[in-house]
Symmetry: C2
Subunit: 598 residues, 2 copies
């Protein structure tokens, strides 16, 4: 099948076919470029690359190197040391302006040549060549492959770099550059002559879009805090003296180069690269700008585009009383729970929790003022620090009111800072376990002893309505069986082995999940039963049931059921009627649990 994303990219390339502009001519290597070459590449943050045109053609990176060298300088020296040498103010000036602050000599930003040469000098290394080697390897980590120098571009540029040489010496005069300015100039010219393809550039951009993690290698190349800084500077200063126009019309952090490339970053989503050598009067690729404007307009890519993220954090919110209960509690306990389950609230969260999402959750809980809250973060992808702190505040608030928050978080997206201490919150791998914990809490609060202490099987629907005669016959066939924690009681695929009523301990039913994982379906408590579902699946047991602790069951085996039915048809009829009612009770509850009101 042909992807509509691919089709879309091809269609806009057809439509944005500006032939305006002139190829850069100041060195023969650039002047010789075929002006009609074209490539577009889009790399997603998980490393899928779409291309149109010849995205494997190589050319010199030129000024697109600037944000990446600035990133390396930040990574090597930190914000403060770099900030002493180069500012982050938009200059509103052309790329080749000298633009030093009249008092300090500090270049206005690292996207103009003066600032970029300064950033190159801030890379750690013993010599210009050592620093260049580190820059080349650094770029390769963003691209996901080793990159090489284009010697002929370097040789050509170094001989005609009069303006950059003037800038370097001026920077030395102000002590912005230290050491030999010719060495730094040589390093900078080499850096601009690193050979890249459009596909490389799209992955370099996607690394920034992905918060500093290279999409294909999975390597963290740049710390997130430096990614923010680099993107900020690209947004305000990346497109030379048309930065304001760019930010208004395209609205993505971007950087262009004189060889005809442009990269643009859609944070969290994708990196783009376009290559077309004809330049507009600002020195940006004319067709590249046209394509970026088109994509931004079509694709809501403007960074100031307002989505509705804030309303999506709470996926579902309901009291325990509305949770479809899964055959887990004896009826008498259930009555207590039914009477008090309104004040236990379940909050299912999803998506990325940013400030507004966490605020929404907090507001919901403040409004509900529950005694107990279950925060289910299984569908949450990422939790911003602010959201984590805010949700911890929620726990404190609940505790001050005498309550508690239980958390369902098998993947640890929201770790408890108090884990392992007295202050730890109850954390669970599945909602069922969290619900069981809350129910036990409620039962304790309302004077019911824990279920393990009582004899509950008499209350079981299979037994409670039997006539005394029938009960006597059945009791005669029931046997008590003991298991130790972790024992497999029933294996998936086995034959129907009878009805098992738990008198003490718990059992856990699970099925195979993806791979060789196991998905826990339900914890089965004293007073409830298991095994009988196999009657509905051609007599085949479909889940594995394991003892969750030391476990005692009363078993009415399949053979016993057969014997009773054959020898005491009247008791058999009663027994099957009881089983029918129990089965439809289970079915009804399970069907209800599938209801969504959302």
């Amino acid at each position: 099948m042909r992807s509509p994303v691919q089709q879309y990219l091809e269609s806009i390339v057809d439509q944005c076919n500006s032939g305006d502009g002139e190829v850069a001519a100041y060195i023969p290597e650039l002047a010789a470029a075929d002006p009609d070459q074209f490539a577009l590449a889009l790399a997603t943050v998980d490393g899928h690359v779409y291309t149109v045109g010849n995205a494997e053609t190589a050319y010199s990176i030129q000024s697109i190197s600037k944000p990446f060298t600035y990133a390396l300088a930040l990574s090597d020296q930190g914000f403060e040391a770099v900030g002493r040498k180069v500012d982050v103010e938009p200059s509103g000036e052309a790329f080749n302006e000298i633009s030093l602050a009249s008092d300090t000599g500090r270049p206005k930003n690292p996207m103009i040549n003066a600032g970029a040469i300064t950033a190159s000098s801030l890379v750690s290394g013993d010599s210009g060549i050592h620093r260049f080697t580190r820059v080349r390897e650094w770029f390769g980590r963003f691209a996901g492959r080793a990159l090489e120098l284009d010697e002929s571009v370097y040789t050509s540029e170094i001989t005609t770099a009069h303006r950059n040489r003037a800038i370097a010496h001026m920077l030395r005069e102000f002590d912005i550059l230290e050491g030999d300015p010719e060495e730094t100039l040589d390093q900078y010219i080499r850096q601009c002559a690193i050979s890249v393809t459009t596909q490389d550039l799209s992955l370099m951009a996607a690394t920034l879009a992905n918060g500093g993690i290279q999409p294909t290698s999975g390597e963290r190349v740049l710390e997130a805090t430096y990614v923010e800084r680099v993107l900020s500077v690209m947004a305000t200063c990346g497109m030379y003296d048309s930065a304001g126009d760019w930010i208004s019309s395209v609205g993505m952090p971007a950087k262009s180069g004189v060889s005809g490339g442009i990269i643009a970053v859609l944070p969290g989503q994708a990196g783009f690269a376009v290559f077309s050598p004809r330049l507009d009067p600002h020195g940006n690729s004319a067709r590249g700008v046209q394509l970026c404007e088109r994509m931004s307009g079509d694709m809501d890519m403007h960074m100031m585009h307002v989505g509705r993220m804030s309303n999506t954090a709470v996926r579902a919110r309901y009291p325990l009383s509305e949770l479809a209960l899964r055959r887990a509690r004896p009826e008498a306990d259930q009555a207590v729970l039914d009477a008090h389950a309104e004040k236990t609230m379940i909050y299912e969260l999803h998506g990325d929790l940013l400030f507004a999402g966490a605020e929404h959750v907090v507001r919901a809980v403040v409004n509900d003022a529950p005694d107990l809250a279950i925060i289910d973060v299984r569908k949450v992808d990422d939790v911003a620090d602010v959201a984590r702190v805010t949700l911890l505040g929620l726990r404190t608030m609940l505790r001050e009111a005498g309550g508690e928050a239980a958390v369902v978080d098998p993947e640890g997206v929201m770790p408890d800072p108090d884990a392992g201490t007295q202050k730890a919150s109850p954390y669970f791998d599945d909602l069922d376990s969290a619900v069981r914990w809350c129910e036990d809490e409620l039962l304790r609060q309302h004077g019911r002893e824990p279920a393990e202490e009582r004899t509950l099987v008499d209350e079981h629907p299979l037994l409670r309505d039997l006539t005394p005669q029938a009960r006597k016959v059945i009791d005669h066939h029931i046997e008590e069986v003991h298991y130790q924690a972790e024992d497999i009681v029933l294996e998936a695929g086995g034959k129907f082995a009878g009805v098992h009523l738990i008198t003490s301990g718990t059992a856990i039913a699970s099925v195979e999940g993806p791979g060789s994982s196991r998905v826990r379906l339900v914890t089965i408590n004293p007073g409830t039963s298991f095994g009988e579902l196999a009657l509905g699946t051609e007599g085949v047991q479909e889940t594995r049931v394991v003892a969750g602790s030391d476990l005692t069951v009363l078993r009415l085996s399949a053979e016993a059921i057969e014997t009773i039915t054959a020898e005491h048809p009247d008791v058999g009829l009663e027994m099957w009627q009881a089983m029918t009612r129990d089965a439809y009770r289970v079915a009804d509850r399970a069907l209800r649990s599938g209801i969504t009101f959302g």
Copy 2:
């Protein structure tokens, strides 16, 4: 309960207590301000306002008026007419620089005084006073209440506005201003003297954060495309000559005013306002800047902060074969479906669908290459245009391969542009109906006539395993009943009325939802049954069952079941055993439908 969000805001106000800076002194009304006044307000995009300090204290809006007047000029005149008079380039200069382009005289941006005065002149109106009245009412629509002029501030400023008077006349000289510059100056000084509270400013900012819709009134004040422009200009030019520092350290679109206010916008999430009259050397509130830096750092509010949005679009993805089927198909049809259900895929989407999310969906579908796809967008909040177009491309792609996409979209978040035509996609209000449509398609493709055409009850689990003698007794008690579409067959709350086997037509089971809505649970097809679940709920029918079309059922009534059990115990036993097996079959399938592997 005390909200942790409120607690957090109070704690950072305590910690960010800079007493640096001086109150603006150029007019007595500002010089007289108590330098230690303080207020913070945070307004969410759904209109909840948190405040610390005295957020009801009024002061003159001053330069915070600039983005809102620029918004009105854009709204009145459009991008092009406004763009001819004022540019959007960062100036990197102080607020009171004259900063006109040397060639055209055009101010660099609408956040410096020259650009702001120009923007004021572009508001539609017959006179300066008329234009001012429109500006005042416009600001009130952002604040959610009528605003007034502070006459004493206006009177004081107009007499000492020498620099702004010079700017206005210079703008007139270049024909940037048309008409009387004194009239525009008067209008501009009045605009700066509009009286606002910190709470007002937070709601004005939240209106921008909310894409132009005022959070409390719900009124669309500004078109989304102009919101993007205004936020872009605030981001690059809002904080005078420290715009670059601001965008690097705080990273939110913002605007400050000389009376000590700052607004900041977190797109999609919240608007902030801070008020503290002591100003730093750039003319921005010193404590305000300190607080904004702190909040941005704590709260991941930097606009270049990279989340992981792109991975959250596909909530679940599974073949029809893994959908827990809900007692809907006769077994023979089920066998056909089981054999072919791998090539029908269900994609449950959620969150806001931006480009990357839609691309993810497309990639999943291209990879799966299903014959039929169900796209379930019930949990999707917002669909960006690009996502809509991309998902439509998906449909085209599936059709070219001989397939189709069915859409579950009860709220119309992704309307079909071909609705009502031959090219329309099948749209459904619930997943169950979409699944039924796909199943019918599959059955047709594989040579099974639609179920309505055949006699299916013999295949029903309740009847198929009976001995001939038992079947004969039961047949004697079965009665055929007809209903018309919309007839209520069983009412919720009624007594168990027996087992109903559908021979033709469909029935729909539903329960009450929130309010007086009804939630459809399942469509019941020929060859399947309903009514027997009441046996599991103390003999009470808990769903309403309505004929979905002309409907014929074979009914084995509650009385008939009782009679058979009493008069033919052997047949009764067989019947109850069959019911038990059927019930556990239903229970098993329903329990499985609650499994999530996510």
